[in-house]
Symmetry: none
Subunit: 240 residues, 2 copies
Amino acid sequence: MSNQQILLIDDERGISDPLSYALRKEGFEVTCSYDGQDGLRRAQSLLPDLIILDLMLPLIEGLEVCRQLRGDPRTREIPVLMLTARTEEIDEVVGFNMGADDYVTKPFKMKPLVQRVKALLRRPHLKEQSVDVVSRQGITLDRLHHRAVAEESELPLTPTEFKLLWTLLRQPGRTFNRNELMDASRGEDANAFERTIDVHVRSLRQKLGARAVLVETVRGVGYRFRDEPHESIPPEAAAI
Amino acid sequence: MSNQQILLIDDERGISDPLSYALRKEGFEVTCSYDGQDGLRRAQSLLPDLIILDLMLPLIEGLEVCRQLRGDPRTREIPVLMLTARTEEIDEVVGFNMGADDYVTKPFKMKPLVQRVKALLRRPHLKEQSVDVVSRQGITLDRLHHRAVAEESELPLTPTEFKLLWTLLRQPGRTFNRNELMDASRGEDANAFERTIDVHVRSLRQKLGARAVLVETVRGVGYRFRDEPHESIPPEAAAI
DNA sequence: TTGCCCCTTCACCAAATCTTAACCGCTACG
DNA sequence: CGTAGCGGTTAAGATTTGGTGAAGGGGCAA
């Protein structure tokens, strides 16, 4: 029981069985569930370290399960890896902005999937690592498909704008100075006119429309993505 | 930018100037010092994230500076990058085991040096890495997010005010003279009208409202942040 | 090659912020 | 009391910073 626990919710035994086998061989403790309702119940009682969730499920479908997981404070933080059958479904997932942390399309290779699982589990607090989807405040970025969605409607971002937003979105609330944004958006390269960032930010804001306010200017420093939900900054924690 | 701060101690302007320029362009906040004594003082008031130290210095030579930095608990953990003129000197330095964290021989290329600097800063140093959050008496400063919070409500500080408060807050009870506060808030530049600080202190106090008393005036010397584990902060007087 | 898209610069403006300097009142001390 | 020194206040002027419109260049596909 000292191992990490994974809850696998999928009704297709053809998927479920080999996957659970593979995961167990990697040393994980795997619990299987074959429909949404049961999966949800187990998630809430087990509080596993990770949930692998099929999009198409009997009784309650995957998206709804995901939504409910996110709605419950006990399960809110558990990483969810979504399995989808068709590529188009991804759009749906991304579009509904259900907060899956990553997803994989079926059919999938076992190795890469296990890798993704490990990556998600390795991530302790920071939302980083090899996550391909980031989603905040109604904006979802998928860097695999290079798609940006804001509340159903797709955002036609240019590569630079995308990387910029990706960087900001990955660490909401953190302020980045123009240099950081510079080499985040433009690979390496280094020295360019810092103000270039401003121009990109501008066009980004234009495309974000009403959501433009989420990209905040921190005068004298740089930019940051608004991060409101929680307020708690460790009070007396980091004293010298 | 109240981002990472570097103290550069080197008397050769031919080295010092271009290096500080390069580092600033990378987004660091650089303070220069041109002799060992001054450098040591500044290190203790600034508590920078990194110190670049020339081995050959007027007044107090580099090794001695390094030794004293290591002897002071406040500066003990700050990474030191040593600059030496000749390769043989490195052996000497290493031999004395003064605890420099890295060495670079002059002449050096700018790029690699900046790389080393970044590496040192990235490294989760001995204990905990550089402090990004400071919190005292109900006031919390977070330089990563660039947020100042006093009892739930956010303080809209200007960059200078932020740095000022950051400096005071990091060493509560310690009195800083106006020069120290000057180069803490004004990154470099040095001798401007000292009274400028007074004006900043005033606007800082205004924004602190009831907590203004925490920024104390030490007549004839400078300012300090109140340290005493104070009991109750004025209850109703919160309005400005 | 042309046209289009995207990135980068540049110039200009308004707003935010910093500095300076003058004026005041308070405090310490004979 | 009287005075010098020091910090508090204020307001105006100087400077910095970010927003914006537009021009120029490069890459790429038609």
